[in-house]
């Protein structure tokens, strides 16, 4: 049990990232592709936080515990992931705005039909 647990979070992060990439590449609808991109991003969140975890540790927030009384997890990766989630949401919004524009100009959201650049 000990050896599986050492590497499981990284493998799950890799699996989520690969699943997102597969969905992105084989998508027949651009909105579905944007959803798959956010799944890819979720993979990176899991990897970042798995790197920062420490066994039997708690969150580095000392509003309700005395500092130094319990081992804490790595706050730097949490700060990176935190801002990444909000920026990821606004980038998803920008991509959806682009998809709406493509639908308006080309009348379709299927990437295979968008062969020539127009509009």
């Amino acid at each position: 049990m000990r050896s599986v647990m050492d590497v499981l979070p990284y493998l799950v992060a890799a699996w989520v990232f690969l699943a997102g990439c597969y969905g992105l590449a084989t998508s027949r609808n651009l909105i579905h592709a944007v959803g798959c991109l956010s799944v890819c991003q979720a993979g990176t969140y899991v990897l970042l936080l798995a790197v920062g975890y420490r066994n039997k540790a708690t969150a580095p927030v000392f509003s309700d515990i005395k500092p130094g009384s319990r081992p804490v997890v790595d706050p730097v990766v949490q700060a990176l992931t935190l801002t990444d989630i909000v920026v990821g949401a606004t980038v998803t919004a920008l991509l959806l705005a682009l998809v709406v524009q493509i639908a308006k100009r080309h009348g379709t959201v299927d990437p295979d039909e968008l062969s020539e650049l127009r509009g």
């Binding site: 708690t58 969150a59 927030v61 509003s63 309700d64 515990i65």
Partner: protein, 150 residues
């Protein structure tokens, strides 16, 4: 062996596993109900985890989920009003059992924390959660009739 952690693990594995299976397969009306129940089950689990890790500050997560979970379901109820109009979801039994589970979890936590401001906070979160999910399932089963989905 932390009893709270065991309860949270069982709640997560059973509840969210079933919700995920419900949202992945079946007709649209069952998927929407499964999404609504996923938040109704995750919030008590978060509160149980907060008690299991002996960290009162984790309760804010349960507060935000109790507030925004039903809002997410209202988004789907409103924007899928046309598709749901033909066979509106009728899942009152399931909704009330999950609300009962949530209420049981919140009362157990209140007993554990003892009479204090933290207990009032837990009660507020429990009230928000149960009313939110009742309203969300009410909205799903035909709350937006006259809406052209807009």
């Amino acid at each position: 062996m932390n009893g709270w952690l065991l309860a949270a693990t069982v709640g997560l594995a059973g509840g969210l596993g079933a919700a995920l299976w419900g949202v992945a397969t079946g007709p649209l009306r069952r998927r929407v109900v499964a999404q609504n129940l996923s938040t109704a089950l995750a919030c008590p689990s978060l509160l149980l985890l907060s008690q299991a890790y002996n960290r009162p500050s984790y309760v804010d997560l349960g507060l935000v989920l109790a507030l925004l979970g039903p809002v997410g379901t209202l988004v789907f109820a409103r924007l899928l009003a046309d598709e749901l109009a033909e066979d509106p979801p009728r899942a009152w039994g399931l909704t009330w059992t999950v609300a009962g589970l949530g209420a049981a979890a919140v009362t157990a936590l209140c007993v554990a924390t003892g009479p204090s401001r933290a207990m009032v906070k837990l009660l507020v979160i429990g009230a928000l959660l149960i009313s939110g999910n009742a309203i969300a399932s009410r909205a799903l089963s035909g709350g937006f009739r006259g809406v052209r989905g807009g």
